[in-house]
Amino acid sequence: MKTSTLVIDNETLTLAYDFNAIADAERIAGCNLLAALENLADISAIQLRGLLYAAIVTEPPDVRPTLVDCGNLIRLDTIAAVTMALAKAYELATPGAV
């Protein structure tokens, strides 16, 4: 699994594209994350929070931050970095990506 990193408040998060995590996160986030995934330039706050929640790779997986924790990570000063890190994670998962 190819990953990208996101640094917020000196904390490094590992992000990766995982369709299963996205599908499972939709139920928790309560929105269509696939639609968001296909148009990262125009997504709602709920979708961005859901995508971040689905993309965070944790070891072991049961210490995954909650949806609210993910929401707290997205602030005006971090929103661009979060979006870029998500886009990078999805780009790396695309077949043929370096």
Partner: protein, 225 residues
């Protein structure tokens, strides 16, 4: 399975093999079970990630692939999603009944027919077509529709025979109607009237052909030098 053989071949790669997919009733029921939505309410063009994974899993399982729902999700890499969705839409179209010309010519009552629920579709298949549960589950809606069209055609043939008898009896009875009745008027399911049958355009060529048939034909071998 027969459904996969007589439906337009659409293949999806999974687990190192290519699987020919079709939306049989079994796959549709699996989708309903996994998503909690009526299969006919699923909009393939605007699927969520959870729905797309469930639909892919259901059709792959029906095709015979030993794919788990997690493995189905793993197939859906970023670059593969649009392609797989397009294949699913194509398979859906191939599995659903085509809009029939007969249906198009039905007089519109202004009330659009409600789509069949799964329960109604099963009841029709069991009662009208005498299909077993297994037969129905392994057939696509298009296959069932083809059978119901055959059944309707058969009913029309029978009704026509009865209609001919009725019309003959009525038209030659005491106090027969001034205008003869038509066998068609005694049919419960008459064939839709084709517009072309009643409004054939008359062109100069048509008139010439008709007149040519009326003229005496020249006799062969008796022409003078």
């Amino acid at each position: 399975m027969l459904a996969h053989r007589i439906t337009k071949p659409i293949e999806i790669p999974a687990g190192g093999a290519r699987w020919r997919i079709a939306f049989t009733h079994r796959a549709l029921l699996d989708i309903e079970e996994l998503t909690g939505m009526g299969a006919m309410q699923v909009n393939l063009a605007n699927l969520s990630a959870g729905l797309l994974r469930a639909v892919l899993f259901a059709v792959l399982r029906e095709a015979g692939a030993a794919t788990s729902i997690t493995e189905a999700g793993e197939i859906l890499r970023p670059g593969a999603v649009p392609k797989i969705r397009a294949l699913l839409i194509e398979a859906w179209t191939a599995s659903m009944p085509e809009t029939d010309r007969d249906d198009e010519e039905e007089p519109s009552t202004g009330n659009a027919a409600e789509p069949l629920t799964t329960l109604d579709a099963w009841a029709k298949a069991r009662y009208d077509l005498r299909l077993s549960d297994d037969d129905w589950l392994s057939m696509t809606p298009r296959m069932v529709y083809a059978l119901s069209k055959r059944r309707l055609e058969s009913a029309r043939q029978f009704e026509l025979m009865v209609g001919v008898l009725c019309a003959h009896t009525v038209n030659h009875s005491f106090h027969a109607p001034r205008n003869s009745t038509n066998p068609r008027s005694y049919m419960l399911h008459p064939w839709p009237e084709r517009a072309s049958a009643h409004s054939t355009r008359v062109t100069g060529e048509t008139v010439m052909t008709v007149f040519a048939d009326l003229l005496p034909k020249p006799k062969k071998g008796k022409s003078k030098p």
